[in-house]
């Protein structure tokens, strides 16, 4: 097994584990961590994709690396936004839950 194949498989495993966590864990913070795990898997796949450049005489193809940097920035911004929302939610109410049933009161028709 070459290092590229191994890294690719690890990337796929990370994406799979992250997806499992994102779907099954009820708490938003755990979901967010699972999303970051998925992100790491995708960035690893990008790393392997950069190996294609070796065929053209370069050591690495720089384009996927540029994409990974952009991807990391985006994922970081997304995580920051999600954490901010989770913190505000825990300030505003005692429970941090995504369950929509928790927010529907029988007389919640007053529009704000």
């Amino acid at each position: 097994m070459t290092p590229s194949v191994l890294a690719g498989l690890v990337g796929a495993t990370l994406v799979g584990l992250g997806l499992y966590g994102l779907i099954l864990h009820p708490h938003p913070l755990r979901k967010l961590l699972a999303f970051n795990l998925m992100g790491s898997g995708v960035f690893l796949v990008f790393g392997i994709v950069a190996r294609r450049g070796a065929a053209a005489g370069f050591r690495f193809d720089p384009v996927p690396q540029a994409m990974v940097i952009t991807g990391i920035v985006v994922a970081f911004a997304a995580s920051a936004l999600a954490v901010a929302l989770i913190l505000r939610l825990s300030e505003e109410s005692s429970r941090v839950t995504l369950d929509p049933e928790a927010w529907t009161k029988p007389d919640s028709g007053d529009a704000k």
Binding site: L22, F35, M38, V45, V49, A78, L89, P100, G109
Partner: protein, 500 residues
């Protein structure tokens, strides 16, 4: 055909201006802050509308897409911006609805007197312009990774708009929206990585020449589609949409429901009709069609059972999004009926965008005037607010698909395409959806037109009612679109260029 796609054409600079205008507005809003954010948004949106019209004029006059290579570097090295028929039309629709939303939101998000800067007002005006900028990049972007970044800007601008009033309920809705969107973005990104790994380019037209029906291309396309569906809120990943759209302020709901979900749908169209037109996509088109049909039926039935007007309209969005996905079985391939299916899909995008924005505007006026939006307590409201209910009724007309309206044209063309292609099964969800839509529009109008006394807390401004009415007028006027309009939508559409 393809050699000139990478090189700049006359009028290409307009695409750069179209992107720079809202971004300049955002920077101007941030730096001086305060009331200047509102001024920047109100000044830039009408200009953007004029710019979108100029782009459409150039595309129509040349009869081919206009292209701009950023930095003078043509793809695959650089990134190209392209505007074809559907981009030009979507640019105009986006500019029109964002302009309407900006003028509608002027009173609710005005900075109060005596304060230099209010947080919710500043946030609203910046996010509104950010959504608009992201949509423009999505409509003219020619590179799949560039489009990923635009999709993320769209999400990050749309999510905080949902929870701008800071109630726990809206924060939970925004968080759900964000988590669904994050799954969507990472799945899309993995697809992009696989495309680049397999073919070494992400430029849409170059990729279209290189793709073959290999497992890696199918996997990449499946991942990207799954991600885009989560962001478009197609059944069964629609769960985030109703609470998010129903809890946002009315001006934001209109933009979210009318435009933001169309952004990711537009990318799904780009993927299957522009990147992968050469592949045999019948089975996948059928799967998307079935999901769309399920969305039409489920969304409409759940809409029928809602007690609150804004939630009803939000579930109606779920149903109307379902119609959009019928374009895949009806327009795939290079058949005689494909052009009809294609026109139908785009007409549905436009008609729903205008009708739904107008309905959310009206629902917002209604909720402010009555202090609630319980459908059961609307008795006699139509007598007190005739213009508001006229907009709701005319918007509903287009959602049901009664002639003459854009919704009618869209559904009629879809029926034509399904009969002409022999796939008559698709006509069942189209007709059933219309029947159910008639049911939920009746549920709003029947109590409102009945006898009863309502006490108005606040009389809505005439100008706000006129904004909603103007948008419904556009939704109705789309029903009279001439053949030249449908020919315009075909500009740059690869399938139509192929042999019949």
């Amino acid at each position: 055909m393809t050699a000139e796609l990478g090189t700049a054409t006359p009028g290409g600079y307009l695409l750069v201006l179209a992107i720079l205008l809202p971004l300049a507005g955002i920077i101007l809003s941030f730096t001086p802050g305060g009331r200047n954010a509102e001024r920047a948004a109100l000044c830039s949106t009408p200009f953007g509308f004029a710019l979108a019209c100029a782009i459409a004029f150039h595309v129509g006059q040349g009869g081919k897409p206009i292209v701009y290579a950023i930095g003078g570097l043509p793809p695959p090295l650089g990134i190209a911006l392209r505007a074809d028929g559907i981009s030009a039309v979507m640019l105009i629709a986006a500019a029109a609805i964002v302009t309407a939303a900006a003028f509608y939101a002027r009173t609710k998000f005005a900075t109060p007197d005596g304060i230099r800067e209010s947080r919710s007002a500043l946030t609203f005006w910046i996010l509104l312009q950010a959504i608009w900028a992201a949509l423009i990049i999505i409509f003219v972007g020619g590179d799949l990774f560039n489009l990923y970044v635009a999709l993320e800007i769209l999400t990050f601008a749309a999510v905080p708009l949902v929870c701008i009033d800071g109630r726990a309920e809206t924060l939970a809705a925004a968080l759900r929206y964000l988590l669904f969107a994050l799954f969507g973005s990472i799945s899309y990104l993995l697809g992009v990585a696989l495309f680049y790994g397999a073919h070494g380019t992400l430029d849409i037209s170059l990729l279209a020449q290189r793709v073959q029906a290999t497992p890696v291309v199918w996997t990449a396309a499946a991942l990207m589609t799954a991600g885009l569906l989560a962001k478009t809120a197609l059944f069964p990943v629609h769960l985030w949409l109703p609470p998010a759209h129903a809890n946002a302020p009315a001006a934001a709901s209109a933009v979210l429901s009318g435009l933001v979900v169309k952004g990711s749908f537009f990318l799904t169209l780009r993927l299957w009709f522009y990147v992968l037109p050469a592949l045999p996509t019948d089975k996948i088109a059928a799967v998307l069609g079935w999901l769309g049909s399920a969305a039409v039926i489920m969304g409409s039935i759940v809409a029928l059972r809602q007690a609150r007007l804004k939630l009803l309209i939000a579930y109606s969005t779920v149903a109307q999004i379902g119609y959009l996905f019928l374009v895949f079985p009806l327009a795939a391939g290079a058949h005689a009926w494909s052009a009809i299916g294609w026109s139908a899909g785009l007409m549905q995008v436009l008609a729903h965008a205008f009708a739904k924005a107008a309905m959310f505007f009206s629902a917002g006026l209604l909720a402010e005037a009555l202090g609630h939006d319980q459908i059961a307590r609307l008795g006699g409201a139509a007598r007190a607010l005739p213009l508001t209910f006229l907009s709701i009724a005319l918007g509903g007309l287009s959602l049901i698909g009664l002639p003459p309206s854009g919704g009618f044209s869209a559904k009629w063309l879809m029926l034509q395409a399904s009969i002409a292609s022999g796939q008559w099964l698709w006509s069942l969800p189209i007709l059933a959806g219309s029947l159910l839509a008639a049911g939920y529009v009746y549920r709003i109008l029947a109590p409102a037109l009945s006898d009863g006394e309502v006490s108005l807390e606040l009389r809505p401004k005439r100008s706000h009612e006129m904004i909603a009415l103007a948008l419904t007028a556009i939704a109705i006027a789309l029903g009279f679109a001439p053949q030249t309009f449908f020919d315009f939508l075909e500009i740059g559409h690869p399938v139509a260029a192929g042999p019949p």
